[in-house]
């Protein structure tokens, strides 16, 4: 309990920035970008502040703010921070400024900055809200800036992609809304903690009735599954990630995809433990589908951004895989908390790690695009390593982190997940290995095609007018030089270096994060898995 409303400040600081930018008419793009970056950094600063007063051993929400808001709907303005929220807030704090930096050269900087800050604030709201009403507010509002970021700064197919993205998500959310309407109709509460209490002691199920609880569960599941996305509801994902501008792709993949997983952990599981347990075998199959087919679909992509989109599907599906395995195993005789704890800790870690690596990789593709007049085909490049060794090195770190190379952060999360899943459901772990294999194949393909071999026909197009005119197929492949593929510039370095450093640090010392979440997942395992 702090006199300073730190959590509100975390959420609203970016929004204040957005409002400020909206008012800064006629400011130069440079000013706008700086203002946006400063406000975007506020999250990192404030969450570090929160970190200092955060007590990892307590598993209940901390720094709680709770005020009566809408009495007629029994809505309270309720914010709280626990390990899960903290990890994701930190992730947002890191990725957001990075995304802004990665899109430093974007046109219409004022609008871009305002929309981006609005998006950032909404995402933070989702991670901190503990009452459905404003949780949903942030959840839905995050779509609006995302829509415009994709639509206005995206590629040729952006219109359709943005539309599809929003409609899919709202399509899911609407049923989640109906579900919560039903919950409110029967319990009169929208508070996550109270609902989790009711869910745990089974009174929610009793009130809703057997059929009702299943319907409501499905509705909420649908909303979260679309957002995450859970296979096969992922079809909006690849176009949206591919068409979005670099900064938005980074944020979408790194943060917004986590909103869904967060919802699973914060809402679906605690409130509906029993329905989730019943549905877990089926969901497990879907998550495996995401893991395996996501990886294999990525192998088939020639557009690097689409490849990364499918890779995101694959990585996020690991989180769900772990969660569903745990839910499936709930109450099984002879179950120990150890595997469940590992799986859950892995889930949270994987969310963070994937956030870092996805952001870094999308940024790298942005760099490639900027050097090749918008081309980002798998086969459009080659030999970049010689031309831009720094870039290649940093991108390599991100690639191998994503791949799960020991020593980098990706490894820790996936290892914990596999350890947990293997302990609880060896068959699923075995199938998921196919996904691992696929991941390795396409990431290495990426590495090889882009960074090795002769320089691709389009590389350095920015410096070669003939390639803009389109006769690049006939021209001789010039050797990779620093002239036609310049290495990383200041802002690009500012994005990639910290991300790469973090990957290495967390790969070496994962306990930095694990320390924050271990008590929490142990508690979860205690009361949700072993009731």
């Amino acid at each position: 309990m702090n006199s300073l409303p730190l959590l509100s400040l975390i959420i609203f600081a970016p929004w204040i920035g957005a409002a400020l930018l909206a008012l800064l008419r006629g400011a130069s793009p440079r000013t706008c970008r700086t203002v946006a970056l400063l406000f975007s950094l506020s999250t990192l600063a404030l969450s570090t502040l929160a970190l200092t007063s955060f007590d990892p051993t307590r598993t209940t929400p901390q720094l709680v703010e709770r005020h009566a808001w809408i009495t007629a709907l029994n809505v309270h303005y309720h914010l709280g921070l626990d390990g899960l929220s903290l990890v994701l807030v930190l992730l947002t704090g890191i990725v957001s400024p990075a995304s802004l930096l990665a899109s430093w050269q974007t046109g219409r900087a004022r609008l871009f900055g305002a929309l981006f800050l609005a998006l950032q604030g909404s995402a933070l709201g989702v991670f901190l809200a503990l009452d459905f009403f404003h949780w949903f507010l942030f959840w839905e509002l995050s779509l609006v800036p995302a829509f415009f970021l994709i639509k206005l700064w995206g590629g040729a197919g952006a219109t359709r992609a943005a539309y599809q993205f929003v409609i899919y998500t709202i399509g899911g959310s609407a049923f989640m809304l109906v579900g919560f309407a039903a919950i409110f109709a029967t319990t009169g509460s929208l508070d996550f903690q109270q609902l989790a209490q009711l869910g745990a002691d089974g009174s929610l199920a009793a009130k809703l009735g057997a059929g009702g609880v299943r319907l409501v569960f499905l509705g909420v599941l649908l909303g979260l599954a679309v957002k995450t996305p859970l296979w096969p509801l992922h079809t909006w994902q690849a176009p949206a990630y591919a068409e979005a501008p670099t900064g938005a792709s980074m944020f979408l993949a790194a943060v917004m995809a986590k909103m869904g997983v967060y919802g699973f952990l914060r809402i679906l599981w605690p409130i509906f433990p029993q329905p989730l347990h019943d549905a877990a075998p089926w969901l497990l199959a879907l998550a495996l589908g995401g893991v395996v087919l996501g990886a294999w679909a990525a192998m088939r992509q020639t557009d690097l951004k689409r490849m990364l989109a499918y890779s995101s599907l694959n990585h996020v599906s690991y989180c769900l895989l772990a969660l569903f395995t745990v839910a499936c195993a709930t109450g099984r005789p002879g179950l120990t908390g150890e595997a469940a704890t590992a799986a859950l800790a892995g889930t949270i870690l994987q969310m963070f790690n994937h956030g870092l690596s996805a952001a870094a990789l999308f940024c790298c593709i942005g760099v490639l695009e900027s050097r090749a007049v918008g081309k980002r085909g798998l086969n459009d490049f080659g030999g970049v390593r010689t031309a831009a060794p720094v870039f290649a090195g940093l991108c390599g770190v991100a690639l191998f982190s994503s791949l799960g190379l020991p020593g980098l952060n990706g490894f820790v999360g996936e290892f914990l997940i596999f350890r947990g899943v293997f302990g609880l459901s060896p068959a699923s772990a075995a199938v998921a290995c196919l996904g691992l294999l696929g991941t390795a194949v396409f990431l290495l393909t990426f590495w090889q095609r882009v960074f090795h071999g002769p320089l691709g026909p389009d590389v350095g197009g920015a410096l070669r007018p003939d390639s803009i005119l389109g006769d690049h197929s006939s021209g001789p492949k010039a050797p990779p030089t620093k002239a036609n593929f310049p290495d990383l510039r200041g802002t690009e370095l500012a994005v990639l270096v910290p991300l790469a450093l973090l990957m290495i640090v967390l790969g070496v010392a994962p306990q930095l994060l694990l320390r924050l979440i271990n008590p929490l997942v142990t508690a979860w395992a205690g009361h949700l898995v072993l009731p």
Partner: protein, 501 residues
């Protein structure tokens, strides 16, 4: 509170004054209209500030009128009427601001406009069925002229269709009211007297009477399949009239259902409840799908109104306090939002580009040429989609909560409606304002369109309505605190209890 009836008198006085002033100069008529509508809004606000919510109507005026039939001039208000009076004030003021550029027959325009407003205020404040009906019909005729004289596409057809539908609806209401008055041997036309009379008739008769009265009012609320007047009428109407029609006049119908049909005939309501709910759901979905494929921008909005009014009717049909409170909130919310949407399409876009075809608008970089219009439409569109943070969300949420209590399957169907609403609104937003992003299509530069800049009345009107929807989205308590006690009155309770399945 006691000043509320002056909203009615002032509007009619303003109508006469505007007519007189309009003969001298259009500017004078405009000022009269603005002053009148702002005065109405101010009265509504002050009454709202002084309002102490309580169950039941609080009498404002009660005078004998036609002693032979026991008819009294009885005006009264509760939280529900007050909500709608405030809405009327808002919509009226914004409507005047968005009609600032009417040049042709200005005085007559504002006279008819204010007469319509006066009738609307009257309906919302009446506690005597006869009084209510008189005001209800007074509001019908001005609509015809507003559309037929100042309208656009196919205006005479649209005007006639709209007026005939409304009048046919009111004829049904009249038949039902006279019937219950006669069959129940009522001593007068006061709502409370009619309630007692309705209690004396057989359940079979109640069922038939409810059908007449409810259907009559629901026609005006755009109940599927009697909604077809709404899109054509709204499209044909001049901007201010569309704003009022969709924003306020459709609410007259819903208000009539709530104030008259439900309390009078609880047994009839119980019988028809599922039918109404399914029709409402059909309306939500059907109108939504139609809106999804329209090429005329205004038709998109027109059908969206029908779809949203479906939520209101669904809330009424669910028949429990939560849903009905949501329905009233949705009436307010939709009134504001529809006003905004029509204002942007009719005034800001159509009068500058002279086209409403989405196919034409697609080629114009409107978000660069008219950024304010784009911003307002995006905000209004979000509100219309039921985005949290805007007034539509608490309303739809309350409706869903209440509907689930009555019949979960209706709530699910309505959930699908939310998705469709998002789909067509988003489509309209992106096609109309952001056009194609295909770089190969030649698009005129923003400056080359030569569009007049947005004027101050437009800005003021838009700010007023945007402010209302955002304020209410964050503080729905303001209105819910008025509405909820009103639903505790014995009259409403009888209906809402009778409505439990």
């Amino acid at each position: 509170m006691s000043t509320l009836p002056f909203t009615i008198y002032l509007s009619f006085a303003g109508a006469v004054l505007a007519l007189v002033a309009g003969a001298r100069s259009p500017a004078a008529a405009r000022l009269v209209a603005l002053a009148t509508s702002v005065a109405g809004l101010a009265i509504a606000f002050f009454a709202g500030a002084a309002f102490t919510p309580q169950a039941g109507l609080q009498t404002l005026v009660d005078l004998p009128w036609i002693a032979e039939l026991g008819i009294r001039y009885h005006l009264a208000a509760d939280g529900i009427s007050l909500t709608l009076v405030v809405l009327t004030g808002l919509a009226a003021t914004a409507g005047v601001l968005f009609s600032w550029n009417i040049q042709e027959r200005t005085g007559e325009f504002f006279a008819l406009y204010l007469a319509l407003i006066g009738g609307v205020y009257g309906v919302f404040l009446s506690a005597d069925a006869f009084t209510l009906f008189v005001f209800y019909e007074i509001a019908i005729v001005p609509k015809y002229f507003l559309i037929a004289i100042w309208g656009s596409t196919n205006r005479e057809h649209g005007a006639m269709k709209l007026v005939l539908y409304s009048f046919a609806g009111s004829a049904l209401v009249l038949a039902g009211l006279l019937w219950v008055h006669a069959a129940g041997a009522a001593t007068g036309f006061g709502l409370s007297e009619l309630v007692m009379a309705a209690a004396r008739v057989t359940p079979g008769e109640q069922i038939a009477m409810f059908a007449l009265v409810f259907l009559g009012f629901a026609v005006l609320a755009g109940l599927f399949p009697f909604h077809t007047w709404a899109p054509t009428g709204h499209v044909a109407a001049p901007t201010a009239a569309s704003m009022l029609l969709a924003g306020v006049v459709m609410k007259l119908g819903a208000y009539g259902c709530l104030r008259v049909a439900l309390p009078l005939f609880p047994a009839g309501f119980a019988f028809w409840q599922p039918t109404i709910a399914w029709l409402a759901v059909a309306g939500i979905l059907y109108a939504g799908f139609i809106a999804l494929v329209q090429d005329d921008f205004k038709f998109v909005i027109g059908y969206s109104s029908v779809s949203h009014m479906g939520f209101v009717l669904l809330g009424l049909a669910a028949g429990n306090p939560q849903a009905v409170a949501g329905a009233v909130l949705q009436m307010f919310s939709h009134g504001v939002i529809a006003g905004l949407l029509f204002a942007v399409v009719g005034r800001m876009i159509y009068e500058r580009t002279h086209t409403r075809r989405l196919a034409d608008l697609r080629g114009m970089p409107l978000h660069r040429a008219l950024p304010f219009a784009a911003l307002v439409f995006v905000l209004a569109g979000l509100a219309s989609m039921g985005m949290p943070g805007f007034s539509g969300f608490p309303a739809e949420f309350a409706i869903l909560v209440g509907t689930w209590k009555t019949a979960p399957v209706w709530a699910l169907a309505a959930g699908a409606g939310v998705v469709i609403a998002a789909a067509f609104t988003l489509r309209a937003i992106q096609v109309a304002f952001f056009g194609t992003t295909d770089k190969s299509v030649a698009r005129p530069a923003a400056a080359a369109l030569h569009l007049d800049p947005i004027t101050w009345p437009e800005r003021a009107g838009a700010m007023l309505l945007v402010g209302a929807t955002v304020y209410l989205g964050l503080n729905p308590d303001t209105l819910l605190d008025w509405i909820t006690p009103a639903l505790q009155s014995p009259l409403m309770q009888a209906a809402l209890k009778g409505g439990a399945l």
